[in-house]
């Protein structure tokens, strides 16, 4: 078990290395001369050469990469030429905001998806089953940005129940209830599609287990259906559900970009989009690094959690 965990951790090294190489090289692929872009069209050759030397642009590419990596490891991702701020300083608070949205959405998607999936499986081939599976099929194909707008139309414009923009209201107390009110709609819009997929997978997973012999034994000895489901079926069904839920995280983070944009949520995704539009390569690079690293870490946690919870997934 410990050997496996160590192997899994070692396996991360080439992936992390690859991520930094890809991100570094994309910056190098951008057409145009950085020095000329900074100094403007009037710059003479001597000052261009001086700036290139100062920025280290005249060095070999692997030396540039090593220096960039060294600085990145020390939390220095450079300066954003657009907002005139260190990239890390710009991104860290946005990262926190995205964690709030992604965490709430993930919780919602798993709880909602598993509940609907179990309900559908326990009422197989009834109206409840068909309706919930039909709905999850439609919801699973909804663009999150569109669902966000529909929610705004209903709950912010028509009913006036919920705020439609930002994380806190300007006149609010900035407390938890204010945050919660702002969080509900973006979290639902982000959670909907991954939740629908989790529901379908949960149903399939539970149905497969309900067909097994030991469930028949449990039923034939007269156990109430609730106990069969809760005590016997779910305990075995939920490791695959956890794996499936973990796989939806990337999908969920992708969706969060759109909901952050629609609801003005000041997160990493929204920052990425505005940096892309402003062609702020430094910030795009930093955001890509943040996203990739956290995604790799989350996948690692899901893997290890699964290993801990499901003895069957452990290597012999």
């Amino acid at each position: 078990m410990i050997v496996y965990v160590l192997q899994r951790l070692l396996g991360l090294v080439p992936v992390l290395f690859g991520i930094t190489v890809v991100i570094f090289l994309t910056m190098k692929l951008i057409p145009g001369d950085v020095a000329r872009a900074l100094l403007g069209p009037m710059a003479n050759d001597q000052s261009l050469a001086q700036l290139r030397h100062a920025l280290g642009l005249d060095q070999a590419i692997h030396v540039q990469y090593a220096k960039w990596l060294w600085r990145a490891l020390h939390g220095d991702l450079g300066l954003s030429p657009i907002v005139h701020k260190p990239v890390v300083e710009l991104l860290l608070p946005k990262f926190g905001n995205t964690l709030i949205l992604a965490g709430a959405s993930f919780g919602l998607a798993v709880v909602g998806g598993v509940a609907v999936g179990v309900l559908a499986a326990s009422r197989q081939q009834t109206m409840v089953d068909r309706a919930s599976m039909g709905a999850s099929l439609v919801i699973g194909n909804m663009p999150p940005f569109w669902l966000g707008l529909v929610l705004i139309v209903f709950f912010a414009i028509d009913l006036r129940w919920l705020p439609s923009l930002g994380m806190y209201s300007s006149r609010g107390d900035g407390g938890f209830s204010d945050l919660l009110a702002h969080l509900i709609m973006p979290a639902i819009a982000t959670a909907a599609a991954p939740g629908a997929i989790i529901a379908r997978m949960t149903r399939a997973s539970v149905l497969e287990i309900l067909g097994q012999d030991y469930i028949k034994v449990a039923r034939s000895k007269g156990l109430p259906e609730r106990a069969v489901l809760g005590l016997h079926a779910l305990r075995v069904a939920w490791p695959p559900i956890l794996t499936i839920s973990g796989l939806q995280l990337g999908y969920l983070l992708g969706g969060a970009v759109f909901t952050e944009e629609v609801f003005g949520w000041p997160g990493l995704g929204r920052q990425l989009v505005s940096s892309v539009i402003a062609r702020d390569v430094q910030a795009v690079q930093g955001a890509a690094l943040f996203i990739a690293l956290s995604f790799v870490m989350v996948n690692l946690v899901v893997d290890l959690l699964n290993l801990y919870l499901d003895p069957r997934s452990r290597p012999a």
Binding site: P14, V15, G18, I19, V21, V22, T26, M27, L29, I30, L137, V138, N141, M142, P143, P144, F145, W146, L149, V150, I152, V153, I157, L249, G250, Y251, L253, G254, G255, V257, F258, E261, V262, G269, L272, V273, S275, V276, I277, R279, V281, V284, A287, A288, I291, A292, F295, V296
Partner: protein, 300 residues
């Protein structure tokens, strides 16, 4: 059916048919009996046909304002689905928008499938160092959430419809390659491949004649389900202003424009979204149908 297969054997005497026509016919029958898949096919035919026939059937020009009335509601005489913030007919823009929206959903997926076919066959057939290098290089891409990676690529090469399609194709290659490689590895050790090799078949012949026909069905199934997802994803990029650029009509662009007038006329943003959902669903129906038809293990 019998006459067709006889004709086939006569004209291609000596040649081994790639897919036994019996198996192909059975798959086609299973697919044709699948009601959901047929509904999906019908929707795709209607939406795609309308997009192709846009110059003939579109009631108004999609780019110029057709009416003095802006933001007219659904059911306005002459404008069944109303008009947008510039007074352009929404139905006409939906019909024309199908061209860009379907293209940016389908073309990157197919391109990625073709590239993946080459890479996956290479990795799976050659194995060893080649396999290792290809798969480890692609592993890096799995470290990024798909849509975010596409956005970052557009960030580097710049927004626009061509770059959007390029970015989506790039992010899909690792996923499709994995499917092709897995399929290749499952066929490679089978006896008929061994037999062909023992009979002296060249590497090219082994891949083209024996591996390819067995790798194509799973790739086809996978690609068809991806198209639905890509229609949603590419609409998203266009919505953000990173893909198809206005004034070109596109469903994602329409939702993005409609968002600006959401408080005054919600239908401008919501109607194109419904079309996106329906189109994505249709491709998923067809993908599920293909899976049932081509993968005997998946049949109920």
């Amino acid at each position: 059916m019998a006459t067709t297969s006889t004709a086939l054997t006569v004209t291609r005497a000596g040649a081994r048919p790639r897919l036994r026509s019996g198996a192909l016919a059975q798959s086609a029958r299973v697919f044709a009996r699948d009601r959901q898949a047929m509904v999906g096919l019908l929707i795709i035919a209607i939406v795609g046909g309308a997009a192709l026939a846009a110059p003939l059937i579109s009631p108004w020009d999609p780019l110029t304002s057709a009416s003095v009335e802006r933001l007219s509601p659904i059911g306005t005489p002459g404008h069944v689905l109303g008009t947008d913030e510039q007074g352009r007919d929404i139905l006409s823009r939906l019909i024309w928008g199908g061209r860009a929206s379907l293209l940016v959903g389908i073309l990157p997926t197919v391109t990625a499938g073709v590239v993946a076919l080459g890479l996956g066959l290479l990795a799976g057939y050659l194995g060893g160092a080649v396999d290792h290098v290809i798969m480890r290089a692609l592993d890096v891409f799995f470290a990024f959430p798909l849509v975010l990676l596409a956005i970052a690529i557009v960030g580097v090469i710049g927004p626009g419809m061509g770059n959007q399609m390029f970015a989506l194709a790039v992010v899909l290659v690792p996923y499709s390659t994995r499917v092709v490689r897995t399929a290749t590895l499952s066929v490679k050790p089978l006896e008929f491949v061994e037999a062909a090799r023992a009979l002296g078949a060249s590497g090219g012949r082994l891949v083209g004649r024996h591996l390819l026909p067995n790798v194509l069905p799973p790739l086809l199934v996978y690609t068809s389900t991806l198209v639905g997802m890509m229609i949603v994803a590419s609409a998203g990029l266009s919505f953000l202003g990173l893909g198809v650029q206005p004034p070109t009509p596109d469903w994602g662009v329409m939702v993005g424009n409609g968002r600006l007038v959401l408080y005054r006329a919600a239908h401008v943003a919501t109607i194109p979204g419904i079309v996106i959902v329906v189109a994505a669903l249709a491709f998923n129906f067809v993908g599920d149908g293909l899976r049932e038809a081509l993968d005997p293990r998946a049949r109920r």
